[in-house]
């Protein structure tokens, strides 16, 4: 537990919760990032502009982080590029097939006690942990 950051993580989590809450209470939308992105990549009439605005905000927030909290981009562990590309493919395909990711299922759906989101969240944490276990213990953490 050498990198344990409970306070920063709790604060960040509260901000994520506030952002998702604002989107719900003001605009009536679910803050599911994979769904928001998919709706911009394959736009539906009258339903893509708010998504593009949210994503622009995400990028603008990233620029602020780069300026005021550059440690946020101290990635610490970047897999070799072919593995990273494979990971990206799996994240893109999997989040669409499973209708959501960490934000839509993990935060919004779990808070709503949605059975689908509870099942999805348990599943992706399990396969994520399994993948890390196999990489660390079979590949010896060399990747």
């Amino acid at each position: 537990m050498h990198n344990f950051t409970p306070f920063a993580s709790l604060l960040g989590g509260v901000l994520i919760g506030l952002s998702a809450s604002a989107l719900l209470l003001l605009d009536g939308k679910i803050a599911g990032i994979s769904g928001i992105l998919a709706g911009v990549l394959k736009p539906v009439k009258d339903d893509w502009v708010w998504r593009a605005c949210f994503l622009a905000g995400l990028f603008a927030g990233g620029l602020l982080l780069g300026k005021f909290l550059p440690g946020a981009f101290d990635f610490g562990l970047i897999r070799p590029l072919p593995l990273l590309a494979l990971a990206g493919l799996a994240v893109g395909f999997g989040t669409r097939l499973g209708s959501g990711c960490t934000s839509g299922h993990g935060v919004c759906g779990v808070s709503r006690l949605s059975p689908r989101s509870l099942a999805a969240t348990a599943t992706f944490i399990f396969t994520g942990a399994l993948t890390v276990y196999l990489l660390n213990h079979l590949a010896g953490g060399s990747l």
Partner: protein, 155 residues
């Protein structure tokens, strides 16, 4: 118009939350998923913070006739757990554990200008495109298969 400004601001706050919490750092994400190694429990606090706030907000929203700036709530209505949901989540989890990025942190980290992140995001967009193409092809195939029977058919 107001709704678009609030979407933008929500995005900014979401990104700041991801950055402050450690979610934009694969080393933290992979550390969290490493339950049988040097487990870093930090991200459990991200989840607790986010769910704690949203749990209350969602219950409050149930008492509102409509959102403040939009005509109605657009919430998912399904409650069935099907194989697509579980398989999709399993594939996503594999990618999450492998790369250490999920969609929000990856898009936020694009702003760092790191080529590796851009490669991840491009691959993620490609994965979404592949899913959309596969769904279309499957829909066409099942429409074709259903056609000779002449009747109404439902998967």
């Amino acid at each position: 118009m107001k709704g678009l400004a609030t979407s933008f601001i929500s995005g900014v706050v979401f990104a700041l939350g991801l950055g402050i919490s450690g979610m934009t750092r694969p080393v933290k994400v992979i550390g969290f998923l490493d339950f049988f190694g040097a487990w870093d429990a930090s991200l459990a606090f991200v989840i607790a913070g986010a769910i704690g706030v949203y749990f209350v907000a969602y219950r409050f929203s149930r008492t509102m006739p409509s959102p403040l700036l939009a005509p109605d709530f657009s919430l998912p209505k399904r409650s069935d757990i099907d194989s697509k949901l579980v398989l999709g989540a399993a594939i996503f989890g594999f990618g999450w554990g492998l790369g250490g990025f999920c969609p929000g942190p990856a898009l936020t980290s694009l702003a760092s200008g790191t080529p590796a992140v851009a490669i991840f995001v491009a691959a993620m967009a490609l994965g979404m495109y592949v899913h959309s193409r596969v769904s279309e092809i499957r829909a066409e195939a099942s429409a074709f298969a259903a056609a000779p029977a002449g009747g109404m058919q439902d998967a």
